[in-house]
Symmetry: C2
Subunit: 343 residues, 2 copies
């Protein structure tokens, strides 16, 4: 019973294949009687038009390729959910793959997508060879970046979170609470705009008349171990810090764990803000003050963009706002500062 084709339907309905095609795709003119008969026959035979045949002929598949660093990461997952939502409503399907931090793998995935003849690609790219993306564009595949843009491709359509604005808000908030020695813990070259955050951090500090203190700016690989090591090292080398801005949930977790391990009370001894949308922020002890990034909305916008992209080429990336969610992990800086590194 497998493999009923348009010819089978045509024969069974006593019409030509062209007519069946018109009925199924809704284009062209078909008499009402014929349409109904064909539809009935098609349904009864369980006919499903082959996307392969159609795609081959029309040169469009309605497929969009989605490349993320890690499907298990909550930010990525939420982003994917956003993409899926609008893809569904736009009647197209999504090919998903994860590239980790590996540029070679990323290139391989892009190549696979190209072979599948996707109409567009949405990527949270690893920093890598710009050539991959240019090659895609050259064969008429729409490309939209999300979260970051590879160097040298600044003109391409993209959806970004307002990382800088988020960090700025966070630092404003902390200085407003009286903090002066604020550390910044962030990734080195990973998903999300660590660089943007770092720059914004510096700039905001200077606006407040605070000289950036290099010892308080630490970058770490985002592996759980490296993150923890970085956080612990920071606390121990700089017992005088009173607040931390952490970029990404991994580093945020590391900061909390390290603080707890060293018996530092949050927020009495140290205030912590995490830039990332962590679903468990209110489950944490204490509930975590965070800067959320609009992951889902980014996914939706990216998908819209990739579908409209062939038409217009936005020169400026779409930047979506971040939001400071004040909970309980930040407090005023206490006069009775931290009692050194022990206890």
């Amino acid at each position: 019973m497998a493999g009923v084709t348009i010819k089978d339907v045509a024969a069974a309905a006593g019409v030509g294949v062209a007519t069946v095609s018109r009925v199924m795709s809704g284009t062209g003119s078909v008499s009402a009687a014929t349409r109904e008969r064909v539809q009935a026959v098609a349904a009864s035979m369980g006919y499903r038009p082959s996307a392969l045949g159609r795609g081959l002929k029309t040169q469009r598949t309605g497929g969009i390729g989605l490349i993320i660093p890690d499907a298990a990461d909550p930010f990525c997952a939420e982003f994917v959910a956003g993409v899926l939502d609008t893809a569904r409503s736009e009647n197209c399907h999504v090919l998903l793959d994860a590239a980790g931090e590996d540029p070679a793998l990323e290139a391989e995935i892009v190549d696979r997508f190209a072979q599948q003849r996707v109409d567009g690609v949405i990527a949270m790219p690893v920093l890598g060879d710009a050539a991959i993306w240019q090659a895609l564009a050259r064969i008429d595949v729409a490309v939209v970046f999300a979260g970051r843009i590879p160097p040298g491709l600044t003109g391409m359509p993209a959806v970004l979170a307002d990382e800088a604005g988020g960090v700025r808000t966070a630092v404003d908030y902390l200085t407003g609470l009286g903090h002066r020695r604020i550390a910044h813990l962030d990734g080195d070259a990973t998903l999300g705009g660590a660089r943007e955050r770092r720059e914004a951090f510096r700039a905001t500090l200077e606006e407040h008349g605070l000289a950036p203190d290099e010892g308080l700016l630490v970058r770490a690989r985002p592996s759980a171990d490296a993150a923890y090591a970085a956080a612990a090292g920071l606390f121990q080398s700089r017992p005088d810090l009173t607040a931390i801005v952490a970029g990404g949930h991994r580093l945020g977790e590391a900061a909390i764990l390290a603080a707890r391990e060293l018996n530092l009370r949050i927020p009495a001894d140290v205030s912590i803000i995490v830039v990332d949308d962590v679903p468990w922020a209110e489950l944490c002890d204490p509930p975590l003050t965070v800067v959320t990034r609009p992951a889902r909305a980014m996914g939706e916008r990216a998908c819209e963009l990739v579908l409209r992209a062939p038409a217009r080429r936005p020169g400026r990336p779409v930047v979506l706002p971040t939001e400071l969610m004040v909970r309980a992990s930040c407090g005023p800086v206490t006069p009775s500062a931290r009692p050194g590194r022990s206890r």
Copy 2:
């Protein structure tokens, strides 16, 4: 420059299309000289074989469809990551879509996958019409269920978590701590085997000589609001309970939040175990004792299964072990029981 086909390559290399095809797919015999020349030409022209043409001819696409309830759910996300990993190593691509709790949407997605001519489908299915899946099987699409099996399809290949074993372990652990009035808070018909958990809960209780107390068995829809309402209601109607087993992270969160809201100390006033792998378990206050489900491994196994499925039909589902991770949210039942519902 777009759209270089096998013919273009053949012409440029001065060979027939058949030869190019043989070179690209590695099959058949081609002289070394020819092979290299063709490869060079193909590379220089940026030729990428069209999966559409190939699929049309070979009747296999190497695509597998993946249907989950919610891409943003951490369990699903981890599962997806597992599927992606093994799909990649098996050289096939993954179409992803999320069906929420909507059987109609699920059917629509399945239909789309069928039109895309995927070789197989992996589904964490909504409870719905069995006919969808049977239709798929009839057109030679391998189907593997994950997490749950629709009623009436018990023979089909599936990968499950040992929910029953997990609950049993949890209840054993709690009774070992002296708990007698243990509540079970779980979903009504959602992802993951709520029914299995409920049955295992009852059975284990009886093994310990405890009569299941209907007032302590509550089911809730998994929306955040409903979950919270259910948890709060449970605490208030049964101030005598000393422990809760929550199925799924949503309900676990709800239980924690509700307990906190009512000023119940964990674990002094109430012990909590969540059956789900929550990445933030150690960030919680207190660190959460959980029963983890092997989401990633389930994804990997499901993917292997769907690729091997045509060959052998496993009559029994693959059941992967859960694991009790003891942290700090459970304690011995205190003689000074909870002081009523206030304070």
